[in-house]
């Protein structure tokens, strides 16, 4: 039987009827149409489904939707403002941090959580923070460069171009 939940997704309050055994991943993609969040392994091994809950990068495939009520959720659709991309998105595009693109939303959001806590991470800290996200194209070098460059841009005053 469906139950009513109220979610805070990308700054908007969304009231909807959901299956209680559905994960946040299923609700985001199937009930809210936010398909930027990808389903990969669905078992917590790949990081493709990572979203921000209360500012932490967590795996939406392992999060029961009922547990997210009352917490702000940010998906890739909620990054940036209007037509202005988040510096991470800009740098991923510019430096080739996104190849096939499947891991990208999880990578970008996980990196966002890192930079919000630590605006000046070392390369080792970036690698450690992204170590739960798998890139099947193996484009890790460009991903790490993109994160470091976005961090540098943000520290320099936020202009991404």
């Amino acid at each position: 039987m469906k139950t009513r939940v109220t979610l805070q997704v990308n700054g908007e309050e969304r009231e909807l009827l959901v299956q209680p055994h559905h994960t946040l991943l299923e609700v985001l993609r199937e009930d809210l149409g936010l398909t930027g969040t990808k389903h990969g392994c669905e078992l917590g091994e790949c990081g493709a489904c990572a979203v921000l809950i209360d500012g932490e990068a967590v795996l939406s495939c392992l999060t029961l939707v009922g547990d997210t009520e009352g917490s702000p959720i940010t998906t890739i659709e909620g990054l940036g403002e209007g037509q202005t991309l988040d510096p991470l998105q800009t740098m991923f595009a510019k430096l080739g941090g996104s190849q096939c693109g499947y891991c990208t939303s999880g990578m970008v959001l996980t990196a966002r959580a890192l930079l919000d806590r630590n605006p000046d991470p070392s390369e080792d800290q970036v690698k450690a923070a992204l170590s739960g996200n798998i890139c099947r194209c193996t484009g890790y070098n460009q991903i790490i460069e993109s994160v470091l460059e976005a961090a540098a841009q943000e520290r320099a005053g936020g202009a991404s171009e």
């Binding site: 055994h21 078992l43 917590g44 990068a57 029961l64 547990d67 450690a128 170590s131």
Partner: protein, 343 residues
């Protein structure tokens, strides 16, 4: 799409409410971070008619420094919160090192202290997809009518204890407070476990771990070493936690915890005894490692042969002992578990 089985989900706001719900629902399971339970439900390794989330129970969320320098840590505290506690890193390095090596960063953001203590023992024959297990003919842990595929003549299941916090917290003399329908009790951490891959905990239905109390560590030095295939995510192939009490350069008391080499964490007094009264000289460290090797009997439960795990267990014990002796282990840490270097 790998979906959970159809089930109901409750999000009680108090522990009393959670326990009362469990009493009414005999086939419900408690869930905290869900990072161990949900994959197992999705792969149909475990069943449940309902999940009772403990995430909203305030009683499980404490992190408190105690007067003796110890800690009371709520079972609902997320692993990432422990990793972000520099005071824990300096007071109880082994526990901090264990927490910071559980799975991957996003899993530590959801996974909890209590959840890690309750991680379901793992086995190559059990932790597989449903079609794989079906093709292989299942195993005792799924179907009691089938033999244990690891030891076909054994009357018991040999799935391997895979919690990282338990060997570290047990060696640090932690006590666990449990609340259930029959009231409250506190047990030394090792008593949480049974040496059985299926019925692996001494918790009864409706009982919840509330918090873990870790005594102060003045005079104690500790280290935790975990060996796994991929440093970024995997469960332990084996782990070793050591605690030594030394006021000068002589060990007055010692405790050793071994993880992932049996169906429960092991705290062998005979390994700790080798260390007492010594100055952790090289030959003492060799002797303690040999004693650990003699005692641990890993079975063919993992994707590395048990002979390899037996050979490498003493290596982990040795590095942990060198670390508490004060040796510079930075290079070895980088090789075996680089995440430990980074908060």
């Amino acid at each position: 799409m790998m979906r959970l089985p159809v089930l109901s989900h409750f999000t009680p706001k108090t522990l009393d409410e959670a326990i009362a719900l469990a009493s009414e629902l005999p086939s419900a399971r408690f869930v905290a971070g869900g990072t161990d339970l949900l994959p197992k439900l999705k792969r149909r390794q475990l069943g449940a008619s309902a999940l009772i989330s403990l995430t909203r129970c305030e009683e499980l969320q404490t992190i408190k420094r105690l007067d003796d320098g110890g800690w009371r840590i709520g079972a609902g505290v997320k692993l990432v919160e422990l990793v972000r506690l520099p005071e824990l890193r300096s007071s109880h390095p082994a526990i901090w090192q264990a927490a910071s090596q559980v799975a991957s960063p996003p899993i530590r953001s959801s996974g909890t202290v209590g959840g890690n203590l309750c991680v379901d023992p793992r086995c190559f024959w059990f932790d597989q997809t449903a079609p794989w297990r079906e093709a292989a003919g299942q195993c005792m842990k799924i179907d009691p009518a089938v033999v244990c595929r690891v030891a076909p003549n054994s009357p018991r299941c040999w799935a391997v204890s895979s919690t990282d916090l338990a060997p570290a917290m047990g060696a640090a003399r932690a006590k666990v407070r449990i609340v259930g329908p029959a009231g409250e009790r506190t047990v030394p951490l090792p008593e949480l476990y049974r040496d059985d891959g299926i019925d692996y905990m001494t918790l009864s239905h409706g009982e919840v771990i509330v918090d873990v109390e870790i005594p102060g560590s003045v005079g104690w030095r500790s280290a935790f070493w975990k060996i796994r295939r991929r440093q970024s995510i995997d469960f332990a192939l084996l782990s070793a936690s050591v605690e030594v009490f030394m006021l000068t350069d002589e060990v007055l008391e010692a405790r050793v915890g071994l993880g992932a080499v049996g169906s429960c964490p092991l705290f062998p007094p005979e390994v700790a005894a080798v260390l007492v009264g010594t100055k952790l000289e090289d030959d003492v460290i060799e002797a303690a490692a040999a004693a650990a090797k003699k005692l641990a009997r890993p079975m063919e439960t993992s994707d590395m042969p048990s002979s390899w795990r037996r050979r490498v267990l003493p290596v982990a014990v040795k590095w942990a002992l060198r670390e508490v002796r004060g040796d510079d282990v930075t290079d070895a840490r980088r090789r075996y578990g680089p995440q430990v270097l980074l908060p």
